[in-house]
C-alpha cells in the first residue's frame, strides 16, 4: 500500500499534467485503481509504473477531448543536438513568489519535465527513459523552457 507521502507525490505529478486540483485527484484515483487491479508482482519501480499509468490515462483523456496539449514529438526532432542538460535549469534563479507565474507559463510536457527534475531529481536521460521521449527532445524542451523563463523575467523587469 502507498503511504501518504507517495500519494501526495503522485498527486503533485497529476497536478503537473492537469494544473487543476480536482482533475489531478480524478486522474490519480483512476490511475491508482488501474494499478491496484493489475497483476503487479514483477514491478520493480512502483512509483514510476503508476506515473506511467497516470500519464497514459491523461493522454487518453486529452485525446477524447480532442485537445492534446502535449507537444508533438515530431516538432522537436530537428533540435536534438543542443549541448545542454537539466543542470542548465539550475542556473535560473527566481524569487519564490514568481514560481506560480513560471508554472502557469509552462506547457504540459514542460511541467512534467520540471516535476521529474525538481521533485524526483531526475536527469534528462532518466526523464527520457520514463516518458519514452527521445533524450534530444527532452533537451530541446529544457532549452526552450530556459529561454522562455528567461525572456519572461526580462519582460517583467522591463515592466517594472
Amino acid at each position: 500500500m502507498l503511504n501518504k507521502q507517495q500519494l501526495n507525490k503522485l498527486y503533485q505529478y497529476s497536478y503537473s499534467l492537469t494544473t487543476n486540483s480536482d482533475d489531478a485527484y480524478d486522474l490519480l484515483q483512476t490511475g491508482l485503481e488501474k494499478y491496484l487491479r493489475k497483476n503487479t508482482n514483477n514491478i520493480t519501480n512502483e512509483m514510476a509504473y503508476i506515473r506511467q499509468i497516470i500519464r497514459n490515462q491523461f493522454i487518453d483523456q486529452q485525446r477524447r477531448k480532442k485537445c492534446i496539449t502535449f507537444e508533438s514529438i515530431e516538432a522537436d526532432k530537428y533540435q536534438t543536438t543542443l549541448a545542454i542538460d537539466t543542470s542548465s535549469l539550475e542556473q535560473i534563479v527566481i524569487v519564490e513568489e514568481q514560481a506560480k507565474m513560471v508554472w502557469e507559463l509552462l506547457s504540459t510536457s514542460e511541467r512534467e519535465i520540471i516535476y521529474l527534475w525538481a521533485i524526483e531529481g531526475y536527469t534528462a536521460k532518466q526523464i527520457s527513459d520514463e516518458t519514452r521521449v527521445p533524450r534530444g527532445t527532452i533537451l530541446s524542451r529544457i532549452h526552450r523552457l530556459k529561454h522562455r523563463i528567461g525572456n519572461q523575467f526580462k519582460q517583467l523587469k522591463g515592466d517594472e
Binding site: 497536478y15 491508482l32 535560473i92 514560481a99
Partner: protein, 205 residues
C-alpha cells in the same frame, strides 16, 4: 532562489486533503487486501474445475470402453492385426524352430506357445518372429508360410487382465473368424493366451 527549490516549494504546497487521503486509502485497502485471496480463490476454483472435468472425461471414457460389446473389441483387434500382417516389419528372430523363437521372447510376461488349434490347420512353416503389440499390450508375432503366395501371422498376448474384461473367450472354445482389410482373422483363447491369426489367401486367377 534556484528554480528547483522554488518549484519544490510551489508543488510541495499541493497536497491531498484528509478526505481525499481517506478515500484513496480506503480504495487501496479494499483492492489490495481483497486482491490476493480473490486471485487465489479464482485460481483454486479454476484448478478444481479443470481437475473435475478431466476426472469426469477419464471416467466416462473408461466406462464407455468397458461397456463396449465384444464385437467392437474383436473388430478393433482384427483391424490392428490385419494392418500389421499387410505391412510386415523385419523379423527380429529368424528360425523355423519354435524353441528358438520362444527363447528370443524374454521381455514378455507370458511364454509364447506352440498352439494346438493353430497346428491343426494346414501345414505351415515357421519363419521367425518379432515383438509387437495388440491394443497397447505387448505381444509376440510369429510368421508362417504355406507356399509362395500364402502366409499367416500368429499373434500371441496375455489374455488375463485387460483382454479378459473385453472378450469372453473360453479356453479351447471354437475360434471366432472375421475379416478386416480383406484379411481373414481368427481369434481364440488357449492356455491363458489370446491367439489371433491373420491369413491372406491369395487365389491364382
Amino acid at each position: 532562489m534556484k528554480l528547483s527549490k522554488s518549484m519544490q516549494n510551489h508543488l510541495g504546497k499541493i497536497e491531498l486533503n484528509p478526505k481525499q487521503l481517506a478515500q484513496l486509502n480506503s480504495m487501496q485497502q479494499e483492492l489490495v487486501v481483497n486482491k490476493q485471496p480473490a486471485n487465489l480463490l479464482t485460481k483454486k476454483i479454476a484448478l478444481s474445475l479443470v481437475a473435475t472435468m478431466v476426472l469426469i472425461i477419464t471416467i466416462t471414457f473408461f466406462a464407455m470402453q468397458k461397456s463396449m460389446p465384444q464385437e467392437y473389441w474383436i473388430a478393433q483387434i482384427a483391424d490392428e492385426v490385419a494392418k500389421n500382417h499387410l505391412t510386415p516389419k523385419p523379423l527380429e528372430v529368424v528360425s523355423n524352430q519354435i524353441l528358438d523363437v520362444q527363447n528370443y521372447f524374454t521381455k514378455l510376461d507370458f511364454l509364447p506357445i506352440s498352439s494346438q488349434i493353430f497346428n491343426q490347420q494346414l501345414s505351415k512353416k515357421l519363419t521367425g518372429g518379432r515383438y509387437c503389440s495388440i491394443e497397447g499390450s505387448r505381444a509376440a508375432q510369429l510368421r508362417f508360410v504355406e507356399d509362395k503366395y500364402n502366409h499367416t501371422t500368429l499373434f500371441q498376448t496375455n489374455y488375463t487382465g485387460e483382454f479378459s474384461d473385453k472378450l469372453k473367450l473360453h479356453d479351447n472354445s471354437t475360434p471366432i473368424t472375421t475379416y478386416a482389410r480383406g484379411v481373414e482373422i481368427t481369434i481364440w483363447q488357449e492356455k491363458g493366451l489370446l491367439m489371433v491369426t491373420a491369413k491372406n489367401k491369395k487365389q491364382l486367377p
